[in-house]
Amino acid sequence: MARPTRPTASLLIAPIVFVVALVVGLQAMLALDERPADPDLQVAPDALPPLSSEVVRCERERPDTEPAQREAERLVTGARVSSATVVACPQVFDSRRITFVGEVVGDVLHRDDGAWVQVNDDAYALDVGPLPAHDDLQGTNSGLQVWLPDDLLDGIQPGRPGRRGDVVEVDGVLVRADPQDAGGMTLRADRLRVRAEAVDVEVPVDPAQVVLAAIACAVAVGIWVIHRREDA
């Protein structure tokens, strides 16, 4: 007996068309509602120490690492450095005094005589403010783990969903393999200044997404009702 082949084309094409339409539609929906970053969330660059953001990468046990290290030495001037600069050539910054600026995020992990905090110096911390309040995407987070003694912890507000945390300027000594953190890289701070207070960030609901959710749920329920009626 010959097997039916007529529905094959529609069964093949329909899901492909659906997936393409879904992806294009979603992409278009978000593109139509581009939200710029809030300039009020930018930490005034003039108020911060000048940043040496140059990245020189040194790799241990590689033949070309010594020239790179020598090149990186000139970045160590006690001036402000970025986390990217530090992790690119950690040996050069080991036991050196640096200045670091960033947003305290997550939790203040209290221990004896102080606390661990994560301080991010990415664009969301300093330039454009947290997502998803805007659509100015700037990549992943980056930062350093900072040890703050008790006397520097007063009233620190970390950033979380819906809140840009305190932006702080910390001075301290970078310990590449900190014995207090089982060999983790730590900036052991001895001075802290809050450069921008924590601020709640409004996360608006996209009306187009509300419509999408309503339509999707209505279609699911509608098909279910039709199906039940047909079965009855």
């Binding site: 094959t8 093949l12 899901p15 997550g106 992943t140 783990q145």
Partner: protein, 502 residues
């Protein structure tokens, strides 16, 4: 002779894919409830949108494609291969709508990485991602790791016996008990037991580490999903280094070991057969490879002077090796440091254990200890055979639940998959090298991490990575999870389908 699929076959495949969409809708509903409780309305709308679309597909399949036909082996294999593609596309919808992904490809990458328990991430500004959406990311590990495809089909399709074949299609090796439904129940029993015990232990250690209240519980549940399902996502951008806690790392280490154990081994231990732990070929292989490569990594770290104290060397070094070997991908240091501060030998050891992977029939990826053990034993048997008289009969055996003989088909299957993994690792690395941005070490590291579903990164994987490389890693994660055969069968099925239409 090849089967010539037609509309009836597509109908069956479509109907069963609808069941997967239903499971995904349920998976999105849970974090949607959390979003409502936490008043994260933007995340709630995104998650409800995703759940609604998945539910609509499920209902459409029930309405237009309903069939009482059972799945054949060929149908099942294609359903499994397609389910991971369809599932990851649907799971990407809420992620994309969250506003933390540049385009749909990014969101699809994240969803594929979550469901395949890989753990590579391209999320923008993770540290401000809403609690419910972050929970959803981790939940994809649990759903994918605990076999959402198998469970959805086994529990909601009424075709338990025929669905048993899907276990192999999904690279899960074999059923633990004769009934698939009972196997699925056992897997969830084990997972629930570990969920309760693991979450309590993690919550306690997180509270001790300084994350109190409900946030400690939230971190604990997310970390449990990522550790037990050997996933590797973490709630904070600095991964496990964020917690600065030996207690947290110790609990996670136990969960990673539990996650990389096959469910068959869990069943043996559950049944009181503790001797299996000493005799099982996979346990022995894993113990040997972990010990050997750990020593190599520690020697490399000492030689390069990365750590200055023994405590740091052991804690950071061994945790990273265990994380890599189990296929989890938790990091205790910035990924760039693997290149800039770990020397050359230790990262090589990390790559090696990532490539080897955990046990077959677990959520871990990679070549798997069973295949390594079988190939090694097969090789030794050949050497022994050469040293014995021609008339001597050489038999090699291994223990996995019971004593088994290594037959040529078993050996060929093991070495074939081993070879396919190695080719996939190399292919991904080659694509990485084509961009001319990274050196060979970095390209191999990242490629192995993707194809072995691990998740450690030296920094190549990011929202700004080239689209072509991103797509390559998506395919690698998919192939690695399916262990190739189901994907190949799907392609073959497609070719047959097109051929039958001519």
């Amino acid at each position: 002779m090849f089967l010539r699929p037609d509309g009836r076959d597509l109908r069956i495949i479509g109907f069963y894919l609808g069941k997967i969409a239903m499971a995904l809708a349920l998976m999105m509903a849970l974090p949607a409830i959390l979003a409502v409780v936490l008043r994260e309305w933007d995340a709630a709308v995104a998650l409800v949108s995703g759940a609604g679309i998945a539910a609509a597909i499920w209902q459409a399949a029930e309405w237009r494609l309903h069939t009482r036909a059972s799945l054949t082996w060929a149908h099942g294999t294609v359903v499994v291969a397609l389910a991971w593609l369809l599932g990851s596309l649907l799971a990407a919808v809420p992620l994309f709508l969250s506003g933390h992904f540049g385009d749909f490809l990014d969101a699809w990458f994240e969803a594929m990485s979550g469901l395949t328990t890989s753990g590579l991430s391209v999320v923008n500004d993770l540290d401000h991602l809403s609690y419910s959406m972050n929970f959803y990311r981790h939940l994809t590990h649990f759903a994918g790791g605990q076999g959402i495809v198998i469970v959805a089909l086994a529990l909601f399709s009424g075709g338990g016996a025929s669905i048993g074949t899907l276990y192999v299609a999904e690279g899960r090796d074999e059923r633990i008990v004769p009934s698939v439904v009972r196997t699925a129940r056992f897997i969830y029993l084990i997972a629930t037991a570990y969920l309760v015990a693991g979450t309590i232990a993690l919550t306690a250690s997180l509270w001790a580490a300084g994350i109190g209240g409900w946030r400690g519980l939230w971190h604990a549940i997310n970390l449990f999903f990522a550790a037990f399902d050997t996933g590797g996502f973490s709630p904070a951008s600095s991964s496990i280094g964020y917690y600065h806690s030996a207690g947290v790392e110790a609990v996670l280490a136990v969960l990673m070991v539990a996650g990389t154990m096959s469910f068959a081994l869990h069943y043996a231990l559950w049944s009181g057969r503790r001797g299996e732990l000493l005799r099982n070929i996979e346990v022995r292989t894993l113990a040997l490879t972990l010990a050997g490569f750990s020593l190599l990594a520690l020697y490399g770290l000492v030689r390069s002077g990365t750590f200055e104290t023994t405590g740091g060397l052991l804690r950071k070094g061994l945790f990273t090796l265990l994380s890599a070997h189990s296929g989890t991908g938790f990091a205790v240091n910035n990924g760039t440091l693997f290149v800039t501060d770990w020397g050359v030998l230790a990262p090589a050891a990390v790559v090696a254990v990532m490539a080897l992977g955990g046990m077959a029939g677990s959520t871990a990826g990679g070549i798997k200890a069973l295949r390594i053990g079988l190939t090694t034993k097969g090789l030794l048997r050949e050497v022994r055979r050469l040293l014995q008289p021609e008339s001597a009969v050489t038999v090699a055996t291994y223990h996995s639940g019971k004593r088994r003989i290594i037959t040529p088909p078993v050996l060929i299957a093991a070495t074939t998959i081993l070879l396919l993994y190695i080719l996939t690792y190399l292919a991904g690395a080659l694509v990485g090298l084509l961009y001319g941005t990274w050196d060979v070490t970095e390209a191999i590291f990242e490629s192995v991490s993707a194809a072995a579903n691990v998740g450690l990164s030296v920094g190549i994987t990011s929202p700004t990575m080239p689209r072509g490389l991103q797509f390559t890693y998506i395919v690698q994660m998919w192939l690695g999870r399916l262990e190739f055969m189901a994907a190949f069968a799907m392609v073959g099925y497609g070719v047959s389908l097109l051929g039958s239409r001519r």
